[in-house]
Symmetry: C2
Subunit: 634 residues, 2 copies
């Protein structure tokens, strides 16, 4: 047996090594046909009886002997006598002996209680469903290795098959290990991490048709983990050990697997997902997967999903693919195959995609992702504007019904997205937070339907309009007001450093948490600094960037910053102190063609709805006095 | 309230009338987050806590104060002292007070037990996951009307959300009515039909996310049905009455619905599926659907599926669409929107589709269908070779991995299809039985990968080769033998009419069941008649056509024919008598390019496998002495 121990095995090679080694024994059970939806057949099924089991009338009407109807026409109708020449039949009734055709009720004329007239001859076997028209006894109606669908149940029951032999779902055990892990219901304290991976991994495995079981959390202790593995192997077909992704600990898991069995691969050349262990104990596959949620999901999909489908002998469902234009450059490391979660929008007739946060720890990137971009190991990535193929997590139809917003972050956008879901079955809102300047750019490049912007022009004191006029070279644009909002300093509860104004921050040497370059809030802050003549380099933490107002508030609350700049609603959400700097106008920039479209009008209706406005007011720190109003148009 | 009573309401109009009237009240329940996979959120969910909840190390390494690392390079390494300048941290560990960066374990050099050297400075916040990098407390993490996926569970648990408010699945009750219906486990006798619709309809409804319940079968009795409807309405949100499709009985159901509530539509302009009743009793939607299985499924999909998705406020999943070339003409009735089940093959780089049996009673047409062709009401249909769009029931990938066989029917093709499923996870075989001549045509038109043919040339006594040479104008073809098989007369058990040869059939005035024109067996029969100088018109039932050997055997067994012509294995399957006429060669015609392809080679391997051959021999009436051998090539 070849044992491959490499740190950078290419993904496909690792997959084929593993799939070649693993041969899961298949277990079957007999179940009632009516309970078999979605189960996979272990043996081909032959029909036991024919359907129809007798020649049956396909219509309501009369059964006749076609010979006796020859020659009938409008000039020379043929008269038939009940019992002797015809019998009344309903759909599904058997055709009595001596009759070979059915005439529809609409095509006969009653002369009296016992005689009828017909104006056309009946052809032999017309409107008769012959024996076995649907199912013929003896034929294979469903082959083995087929997943049972609703109509399959119909032909199985019609064919007299009341019991089926199906594969018992393979059992996948997941062992969460790590002294830092706590159960979701426990209180998080520094150094402790909620084990949600077990639930997520179980859910994936369940979706793929296996039976998933998660063991209780095991601390980082060789003997305990070894014992946990041995116990889990007793009851499962496939074992997943969800070790931490630290080098030390992986070696640890690998070492145990090697001690109890074999390790074929340790480390695949991917990003994320590298620290994977593929092994076998007692002929059962054991997969060690990284602790970071995104890596864990990818490793599970690469190495556990194929085992489950191979067990059943059915193909893995393929994801839809779509060609997209990249809105941003996506760089990649040579020598590693990279997997980047992407948002995809359908704007002006083309698909545009942008990368989400690439951190392996960012589960939200999986929640928000519309698709996955796969960058080959020998590529350095792709340029902005390049055409690439993306594997979709969501149906194309959903993407086509998604309003794409790119721009500044505001809490009301979440409300808007939720309100759209409430309002419509099939309209969605996706918003990316790249700052106001990023939003302008997205409208210029036709990558978004709308951009949320709040850009103060220091020279005029005017919001947004001067920026649009200066930066966007496009006609027929419109600015719709979403909200006015209060900006200010976000401070720890009680304002312990007694901050009253900007000067205090510099003078008291407080640690700032800033917003990213291009954010309207950052521009406002820079404008204030300039006004007061304060050099940014004097502000501690000036270069630390957060991408959202809530991120700023969270940093202040956690104590990692003494002060942040942001909107009042974020300080309210975190129960922090707030000192206003002023009110600013937050508008939505869009093309008139979008505003006038069906989606655009729905969007505007929802913005104008009392339900949306009252929720905004409830947040605090907002005014909706101009919400939904046209501020400017070109 | 407008009451529309029309016999031919266009489908879309009927749908919008019904959806406008129906407003299902929504019921919600609180469930544990870990049990929420696939459930639909009733309320938007806000994160209760941030994840990470503390600034955490993103790597195994050391936490440092970035200020103390400034200036480090290969020439001037910086020395750091444990406890004072750095602390060891593992991935996920909190960053201790006073430290603001992490250096990876790989990038440090230990000088001794307490001192290390670094060769590069650390930038502030490098390799640190800030508070809320994944989930920020206060943000909406999942909006209402969203179906929970595995990664959603991760962010929900990470965000401290242990309980969710989700929609309770709507309850759909199905009432099967009809005095002719029996339960699947009962014995079928003439006039009785197995009620499999209830199981199929339940399965569809379950797949769409509702809770389905089928009532016991109710006989055709106004009072019983009325009582059944009233009882079912008590416990359901949507009621489906699966009446027979006969005019009398439908009016019956419509009459009851009208008596208890309202009928909005009775009869839609579709084929199949016309006799649909859309109504409402006590503000609950009631749908009367036809008894024919295909009509019942279509009506359910048109009128019940949208109600379920509207209840949840989520979009209906769209089917993949594909442009296909029609292999045969498909005619349609003006004024009715038609829905034709189609097989779709991917041959020589293009999709080719052919209609399946269009009978509304043929459930197998749904089982075999790869997709659905929708013909508008104002169309007379499409010509052969025309490009049309098809909605797919199966993924494109599966179609691309399907070997398409068109031609003569043989029982071993079922075995071959099943063997292919056993042999490969992702290879399929689809076979259409249109007779040997149809198979030749399909190869000529490049609509099939292989054609099963058994065509006797009366002049030479040679099988297949003369026909291929005469009819196919293509180079590089090959004939591979599949089997030799015995053809003969299929007779009732005991041969009551004492048939010994062809002459007996004519002389004893026996009723024949024949095969369709173009079938090799029909050609053989015609050849024998000619040889014996018997005029076909003297044979009773000469024009009655069956499309398969099993169909012929079933007709003989049911007594609707005294004699049939077919293969021995069919007579064995039905325990009938058989008088051999002779052995014939059944070959597979295919292009060499297919045979040499990956799929072609797999196909040949399976044909050559001992497993396949031994199953064929077991059927009886076959010889596999040349199976898999090349018979002829051009």
């Amino acid at each position: 047996m070849r044992q491959v121990y490499l740190d950078n095995v290419p993904l496909e090679e690792a997959q084929s090594i593993f799939l070649e080694k693993v041969h899961l024994p298949r277990w079957t059970e007999k179940i009632k046909t009516e309970d078999a939806l979605g189960r996979v057949l272990a043996k081909s099924v032959y029909a036991r009886r024919s359907m129809p089991a007798f020649h049956a009338s396909a219509m309501d009407g009369i059964a006749v002997n076609s010979q006796k109807t020859i020659g009938a026409d409008e000039q020379r109708p043929v008269t038939l006598e009940i019992e002797k020449d015809f019998l009344q039949v309903d759909t599904g009734d058997p055709i009595p002996e001596g009759f070979d055709a059915v005439i529809m009720i609409e095509d006969i004329q009653w002369l009296n209680d016992s005689e009828i007239e017909i104006l056309a001859p009946a052809t032999p076997w017309q409107h008769i469903r012959p024996v076995g028209e649907d199912v013929v006894a003896g034929e294979i109606i469903i082959p083995a290795h087929h997943k049972i669908t609703p109509p399959d149940l119909g032909v199985l029951l019609a064919g007299g098959v009341l019991e089926l032999e199906v594969f018992i779902p393979p059992k996948v055990s997941i062992i969460p290990t790590g002294s830092e892990l706590i159960r979701p219901e426990e209180t998080v304290s520094p150094g402790k991490i909620v084990d949600f991976n077990s639930t997520v991994l179980k859910a994936y495995v369940t979706q793929w048709g296996a039976e998933a079981k998660a063991s209780p959390i095991i601390k980082d202790d060789v003997d305990l983990i070894k014992q946990g593995i041995i116990e889990a192997l007793d009851i499962c077909d496939i074992l997943v050990v969800n070790a931490g992704s630290s080098a030390g600990r992986e070696d640890f898991t690998a070492q145990i697997i090697r001690e109890l069995g074999k390790v074929f691969v340790h480390g695949v050349a991917t990003k994320p997902g590298k620290p994977v262990i593929l092994g076998m104990i007692n002929n059962k596959p054991v997969v060690g997967i990284p602790g970071y949620p995104v890596s864990a999901y990818l490793a599970l999909e690469w190495f556990v999903k194929p085992l489950i489908y191979k067990y059943y002998g059915i193909p893995q469902p393929e994801r839809q693919k779509v060609d997209v234009t990249l809105g941003r450059r996506v760089v990649s490391t040579m020598g590693k195959e990279e997997f980047v979660r992407m948002t995809v929008g359908f704007v002006n007739g083309k698909y545009v995609a942008n990368p989400l946060n690439r951190g392996a720890g960012v589960t939200m990137s999986l929640v928000k992702a519309h698709g996955l971009l796969r960058i080959p190991a020998n590529s350095l990535g792709y340029e902005q504007g390049e055409q690439v193929e993306i594997e979709l997590f969501r149906p194309k139809a959903e993407l086509k019904n998604t309003i794409v917003m790119v721009g500044s972050h505001d809490l009301t956008l979440d409300l808007l997205a939720a309100e759209i879901r409430k309002f419509s079955d099939d309209l969605f809102l996706s918003s990316s937070h790249v700052g106001s300047m990023g939003g302008l750019l997205a409208i210029q490049k036709e990558e978004a339907h709308a951009a949320g912007i709040h850009l103060l022009d220091p020279d005029t004191g005017e919001y947004n309009i001067p920026y649009v006029e200066k930066y966007i070279k496009k006609p027929d644009l419109v600015l719709i007001n979403l909200v006015y909002r209060e900006q200010g300093f976000i401070l720890p509860k009680g304002n312990p450093d007694n901050v009253q104004n900007l000067e205090d921050i510099a003078q008291k040497d407080l640690l700032l948490i800033n917003r990213q370059r291009g954010a309207g809030t950052r521009i406002l802050f820079d404008h204030l600094l300039k006004e007061k003549g304060i050099n940014p380099s004097l502000i501690k933490g000036y270069t630390r960037e957060e991408f959202s107002h809530l991120g700023v508030a969270a940093a202040v609350q956690s104590g990692s910053a003494d002060v942040g700049i942001g909107i009042k609603s974020a300080s309210i959400a975190y129960n922090l102190d707030f000192i206003p700097i002023g009110e600013e106008r937050y508008d939505l920039l869009m093309a008139k063609s979008f505003l006038n479209s069906y989606h655009g009008q729905m969007f505007l209706n929802i913005i104008n709805s009392p339900g949306f406005k009252s929720q905004v007011e409830e947040l605090g720190g907002y005014s909706t006095r101009d919400t939904g109003q046209i501020i400017w148009e070109s």
